[in-house]
């Protein structure tokens, strides 16, 4: 797919690199995002997603058209370099993915395990097993603070979102929708199917880092029982 720039605000462009959810696309998004942030002080803020980057610029100092040309050049340069010599994989700048183990008490609180199992023609135990078998990649943070979009879910346990979202999904809920899985860092409305809950904090504005899961990281889910879950909660919030 060709690189595109769409106007997103009077002082923002959406730089679209692709239209797929894939690891190679995600790697390119983050390489280009890094390069865009270094273009100059006229870049105010960027918000990378699966295959695109929202880029805010200082409209008082620069022309939108000039910024678009710089963004297109920048993306072309970074992608060209990575395609020609696969420099991305070999360079010292690219760190190996950080790994996280996220403990999950499956079936804790209100959940959709039975509905997922029925929809997929599986037992609840199989749903839980397949959810833990995959190593997920963090594709993007967004929607809510620290909400990590993780992919891709095993094809055997894919299910659409709820027709009517829940008014309140508790913090720590581990949920799935289509090819994705995620953890709700804070209580919020939500339409994803809940499988269980983690005691691990995923957003704390006072902590360093604020969000432990970052784009490019790898995540595995590990089942814990209710006793361990509650013990962990006490350790986290003494």
């Amino acid at each position: 797919m060709n690189i595109q720039c769409q106007r997103a605000a009077i002082n923002a462009w959406l730089l679209v690199l692709d239209n797929r959810i894939a690891v190679d696309v995600s790697e390119r998004v983050h390489a280009v995002n890094q390069a865009v942030r270094e273009l100059g002080t006229f870049i105010m803020e960027t918000s990378p997603a699966y295959a695109s980057i929202l880029v805010y610029f200082d409209i008082r100092r620069v022309n939108a058209e000039a910024v678009r040309d710089e963004l297109m050049d920048c993306a072309t340069r970074v992608l060209g370099a990575s395609l020609q010599n696969k420099a991305l994989q070999n360079s010292d700048e690219v760190k190996p993915a950080r790994q996280h183990e996220v403990p999950v008490c499956y079936g804790y609180g209100e959940h959709d395990l039975a509905a997922v199992a029925e929809h997929c023609g599986l037992s609840v135990a199989e749903v839980i097993e397949y959810h833990q078998q995959t190593t997920y990649r963090v594709y993007a943070l967004g929607f809510a603070p620290g909400f990590a979009y993780l992919g891709e879910l095993d094809e055997r346990i894919r299910i659409p979102r709820l027709a009517t979202p829940r008014a309140k999904v508790p913090a720590g809920s581990v949920a799935i929708a289509e090819a994705q899985t995620a953890i709700y860092p804070i209580a919020s409305p939500g339409g994803w199917r809940i499988l269980g809950r983690t005691p691990m904090p995923l957003f704390d504005p006072a902590a360093q880092p604020m969000c432990p899961l970052q784009p490019g990281d790898e995540v595995r889910f590990v089942a814990i029982d209710e006793q361990r879950f509650e013990q962990w909660l006490l350790e986290v919030n003494p």
């Binding site: 769409q6 106007r7 009077i10 239209n19 959810i21 918000s47 805010y56 409209i59 008082r60 620290g146």
Partner: protein, 316 residues
């Protein structure tokens, strides 16, 4: 030493602490927040010679009473309300001197929705991620740093400010009118090219009504449905800018406001002129608005002039 504080005696629907917003954390999923009517907010700080980002109270529909525990100066801008200090009627859009022990009483809004109470030097609270702006969905900001709105009994510090000039006011010509249906500027953007000519024309040919569930995240509109192309259903979630005009599958547009989610997957026909978001923010559920298409070059000049006047970078 006197306590430089405001004590809240009564709150009507809702009041929240807002500075200009939380910037720099979009990539972590943290939204901006800040005043929905930026124009009224920036005027309030200007009247008091405050820094443009100084924190104020955003009061929904008025009906607010508070007592000053120290001498200071205030300005009330935004929705049309009666303002009294110890029973003496005071004008809107003007800096007013107040004394320790006096009570401020703001009446019910007769037009518009959001009232901004600015105070000399700005309200003070512990910032989170560089801002005190209250974003309830994110449990961030506000007096308790948990995203909660203000309550009767709360006491809020304000800064020891240099003597603010009182009696400064804004000329009538610059004061917005909230009674009439506003015409809101629209600009082509995002997936504009994928919408049909008739979809683009429909949006500016009819009035749209604000739905009841409009809030600080988004203004939901109701009117003739905007048709979405089949191929637009599979859009990946992407960065959602304030002002973006989303079209969900039911064709009823939503204008994203300051507490919006940072990523979203609905197609977007364009975005609202950032200066017109202030007018949109003052419309009530059930009231109507009209759209018109504008030129990027015209709006760019307007936006530059506006933010240069207030001495601030265009927000992002």
């Amino acid at each position: 030493m006197t306590t430089r504080r405001l004590r809240i005696d009564h709150i009507g629907l809702q009041a929240s602490l807002q500075d200009f917003g939380r910037f720099g954390y979009l990539a972590q999923g943290v939204t901006r927040g800040g005043p929905l009517d930026e124009s009224a907010f920036l005027w309030g700080n200007r009247l008091l010679a405050n820094p443009p980002r100084a924190a104020q109270l955003e009061i929904l529909m008025g009906q607010f009473r508070a007592t000053f525990l120290a001498d200071t100066a205030i300005a009330v801008c935004g929705a049309e309300v009666s303002v009294e200090v110890d029973g003496r009627t005071c004008p809107l859009w003007q800096s007013i001197a107040v004394k320790a022990g006096q009570q401020l009483s703001i009446g019910m809004a007769s037009a518009g929705l959001r009232v901004y109470l600015a105070i000399a030097g700005g309200f003070q609270a512990t910032a989170q991620l560089g801002s005190v702006s209250t974003v309830s969905r994110e449990h961030l900001g506000g007096l308790q740093q948990n995203g909660e709105s203000l309550q009767a009994g709360d006491e809020i510090d304000f800064a020891a400010a240099p003597q603010a000039t009182v009696g400064r006011r804004i000329g009538w010509a610059y004061r917005p009118q909230y009674q009439q249906t506003p015409t809101i500027g629209l600009l082509p953007g995002y997936q504009y090219e994928q919408f049909s000519d008739s979809a683009r024309a429909l949006l500016v040919a009819h009035e749209y009504q604000l739905q009841q569930d409009s809030n600080r995240m988004g203004i939901r509109l109701q009117g003739p449905a905007i048709a979405i192309d089949q191929q637009q259903h599979g859009l990946l979630s992407e960065g959602l800018a304030i002002g973006a005009l989303q079209v969900p599958p039911d064709g009823q547009p939503i204008v994203m406001m300051h507490d919006r989610q940072t990523l979203g997957g609905y197609p977007k026909l364009g975005f609202v002129n950032p200066l017109d978001l202030s007018l949109l923010a003052q419309r009530r559920p059930g009231q109507t608005i009209r759209f018109h298409w504008q030129q990027l070059s015209t709006v760019t000049q307007q936006v530059r002039r506006f933010y240069r006047f207030f001495g601030i970078t265009a927000p992002y």
